[in-house]
Symmetry: D2
Subunit: 141 residues, 4 copies
């Protein structure tokens, strides 16, 4: 496994919130990350769809780890800000967040991510995120 | 209890994700809502702070319910989009999301929310949201 | 010229601010629009680069017209909100805003746009927008 | 005139785009800035209202200068990103952008700004911005 993937998988393993949600790290490329979240009743909003906050959580982690996958050695990633558009109700058996690095600078990294709902093997775009991440030195974070 | 508060409390009670997080609806005014989320290890990101997604989730619910508190009878609220700035690490015994309506139109409602971390009785601003909500007819949603 | 392009070109022609900036409508597809803005000293920020507001202006128009290009007959488009990330200094002979529709609903239309700087025939990504537009009936707007 | 105001006024004076728009720097506090933009036909969108890009431009400059007003000596400010909600049509004799610092860190500064339309001496909220600015060393910028 390449070093960048080890680093991302180790950090994801420390995110207890991803475990709480039931999210799994599917794949890690250099500058791209995919996270999968099976639907469960524990994630519901008032209509029984998955809560926008749950979808945002996997998008944020996917964006953050896309940024980490291209970070210098020893750098950590924190979310500065993100914006999410909810495009369709989060209805499905599972949700996928796919994020890629749009531009990585020395200090900041801008990432974009799409969330898809999976139903009967079909994917439907349900949300999209544009996020700014910051690189922090591990010893300063 | 005023009708608008009953409506908000009933809908919040159906959001299983708020229960999953451990969030409580503290107060409901006409155009303002406060939600409280005690910290727990289940909410952590890689450094043990609360995950930005957990903080965003209570901000989103607070903004949505601020919009619902001023909605016409029979209207439901869905999140169109939001943007969150994370201003400081989410470290504390509990987190509070306070949202208010910035402008309510016939179709859209724009809300702003701040998230605060509470430590030893002191509140610190840790995040801020600007959100757009849409009113849907209950029978169409 | 297809009807959707006529409609977009007619509306763009009424945007005096695009004329003030010196922006031109390059191309109009069904769900995609390109606008070009030659650099001039009149657009500068404090360092002489093009002001983020000028780049945002052509991105907003490009997103709005991408939404209009797929609108029902008689519908007008207004900007609900947008978020822009500035990725690199706006330095170049000209700037291009390319927007596409991400999802068009009955009421709202979400569009994404990239801004590029052109120097010696080379394009460089300098900004990206995620925008929400609303369809209004012409007789109600 | 305090040093921070001199610094802001000098930088604003170099923003040729503010001159192009006709915008004036009204007041500069430590962490707060107000800019005024008289309406003119040159600013119009397709309905004759002021273009969202013009309103965004003065909000961006107001946020950037609020950040600069609290910056360390020698630091410059660049816009990282911003999000704007357009709350009402930009109709009026003049527009005012009022921005304040929400949180200033060592590297980043988050600012919020409201835009108001002035008609017959009455102010109406028409837009709101949430922005992230970055401090750059003058000799590195």
């Amino acid at each position: 496994m390449p070093t960048f993937e080890q680093k991302v998988r180790a950090s994801f393993g420390r995110q207890s919130f991803m475990t709480t949600l039931g999210a799994k790290l599917v794949s890690v490329g250099q500058g791209s990350v995919e996270i999968r979240l099976p639907f469960s009743d524990a994630l519901g909003q008032q209509n029984g769809f998955a809560h926008a906050g749950a979808i945002t959580s996997i998008l944020d982690s996917a964006c953050g780890y896309a940024a980490l996958s291209v970070a210098r050695e020893g750098a950590e990633v924190l979310s500065v800000e993100f914006k999410v558009n909810l495009l369709a109700p989060a209805v499905g058996e599972a949700f996928i967040a796919r994020a890629t690095v749009k531009r990585a600078g020395k200090t900041l990294c801008v990432c974009a991510g799409d969330a898809l709902a999976v139903s009967n093997g079909e994917e439907k775009l349900i949300a999209t995120m544009l996020a700014t991440m910051i690189y922090m030195n591990a010893n300063k974070a």
